[in-house]
Subunit: 318 residues, 2 copies
């Protein structure tokens, strides 16, 4: 057991190094990992979680960066989890952007963690939420998930926030693509970034049309569209205000609790599936597959038949 | 049982309507679905599978479209599975593009199926591979998976091909982003599309540098970079030739069989996990979560503790 009391103690005092080490422990996915998460759980739940997603190149990181500044000015602390391969935090950007983004991470009120979309031992969404719990327990006021809006697990992460923001740019067909990618369903509100570009008004009109065609069950909240040019710091205050307005709406209507309960269910699902995968594909599970194949040519047998066998075997193993 | 003998018979005769209906059956994920896949399995394995992936806007669909024409000229038949939300096939494109793409689908030698990245009952990768088996059994010569190169399941699909092509464009930082997104690892070769744009040579040089830094285990195949401007049909023959060269390399070295075996293992894994999820989250599994929560406030209990309970219950259920 490498989780010392002093690590937990320092973590709960918002010690950045301990936050970082704790996240490394949960990323390593050993037995300490779920132990640590159980120990700190009573401290989790106070941070407000914001998901920022959208197509690559929409300016999600710039908005994140500017929002951090707004929150810092209000004397709030911010944790960022970036799971966007095109984010400057994770390296996919011009050097200048990256330097600017990393600088803000040096601020004592800011903790930034980037996560690879590949190669994590557990599921991406599970790991990102575990990391958020760590940052939450440490006492940060806001947690921002920055994820690219393509791919199911990336959307799942953005969606597991209290407020989910979808960032679009006025390129032709952008909103249609967003619709296809499932972004329309998860947006609490939209940001039309780079709105100084030609075609911006037209893009907003077409987005509005699409939104009006949808049937939103909740009559008290209708997704708005905030115009911004984040690179010039225009509209960022409006985004922060809209987050606050959405937060107030959630609390006033009791939807805050409902939403957190839904996310809690999703969370449990992820954890259970992750554990079962581990039991299933232990070295024994893998051996079973290999031995099934040794004597066979692929074309001889349907993978569905082998799957039947593995499941039978799994039942005996439990 | 809605799988009639005549459906299977017509499917094996490459009847497009029966191919489409069979894929709808496997998408519906009922008991007929695995039955159908078992029945046709002895006919699967003859199609050559090509994965085309890369960032949104790189021109993957245009390349797919042009490659289809090359194959048709060689009197070959082609099936396409598009799981790219930004693809013209799935609707995320200008109307003109979409019309052009849909036109080629009317050719008797071409079958095109688009899949939503969201809302499929089974896993995306499992469903795409099931659909490929249907098209394969129907006797199509080539199967092209077009997927956007962001998101784990999309990459999994592209990677489950015999030849995987990563399409990039000469935008700054594109190859760095591709590296971060895990595209470098899966590429058998690259296409630098829109190579008439400024910065193209520089992008190729930087891609070469990244490739040289990697340690490729296989000394007989090193990923090449093909220059193309697919929209003007430039370089498409080169892409087709490189696919043929890679195919020959796989067959000559015995790597073809090895690769298919690896994919076969992946496939079995996906099927098993999918089935377990179904058992786990049957209405009973869901009820268990709800009843656990009814008497509790979220903050009282760690999701990890509830996961423990659900797993215990699952063991009894099996």
């Amino acid at each position: 057991m490498i989780i010392s009391e002093s690590l937990v103690e320092k973590l709960l005092q918002k010690d950045k190094r301990s936050v970082a080490r704790s996240i490394s422990i949960i990323e390593s996915e050993n037995s300490d990992s779920s132990e640590l998460l159980k120990v700190i759980y009573h401290k989790v739940g106070n941070a407000y979680r914001i998901g920022i997603t959208g197509p690559p190149g929409a300016g999600k990181s710039t908005i994140t960066n500017q929002l951090i500044k707004v929150f810092l000015n209000e004397n709030k602390t911010v944790g960022v989890i970036a799971v966007d391969p095109t984010s400057p935090y994770t390296g996919g950007a011009l050097l200048g952007d990256r330097v600017r983004m990393n600088e803000i991470g040096l601020n004592p009120g800011v903790f930034i963690r980037s996560m690879a979309t590949r190669g994590s031992l557990g599921g991406l969404s599970k790991t990102a939420n575990d990391a958020a719990d760590i940052i939450d327990a440490a006492g940060y006021d806001y947690i921002i998930f920055e994820t690219v809006g393509v791919g199911q697990s990336e959307l799942d992460i953005a969606q597991a926030a209290d407020s989910t923001i979808v960032v679009l740019v006025p390129e032709s067909g952008d909103s249609v693509q967003a619709m296809k990618a499932g972004l329309m369903e998860i947006a609490d509100f939209f940001v039309m970034n780079k709105s100084d570009r030609p075609g911006s008004e037209q893009a907003i009109t077409s987005l509005k049309t699409i939104l009006m065609m949808k049937n939103y069950e909740d009559k008290l909240w209708f997704p708005t569209i905030i115009k911004a040019t984040a690179v010039d710091n225009k509209g960022v205050e409006d985004i922060a205000n809209e987050i606050a307005r959405h937060r107030k709406y959630l609390l006033d209507t009791g939807n805050f609790q409902k939403r957190r309960e839904n996310h809690f269910h999703m969370r449990i699902k992820e954890i259970v599936e992750d554990r079962i995968k581990k039991i299933l594909w232990s070295s024994e599970g893998q051996r079973k597959i290999h031995s099934s194949l040794d004597s066979l040519k692929i074309s001889d047998i349907s993978p569905y038949k082998i799957a039947d066998e593995i499941l039978d075997n799994f039942k005996k193993q439990l």
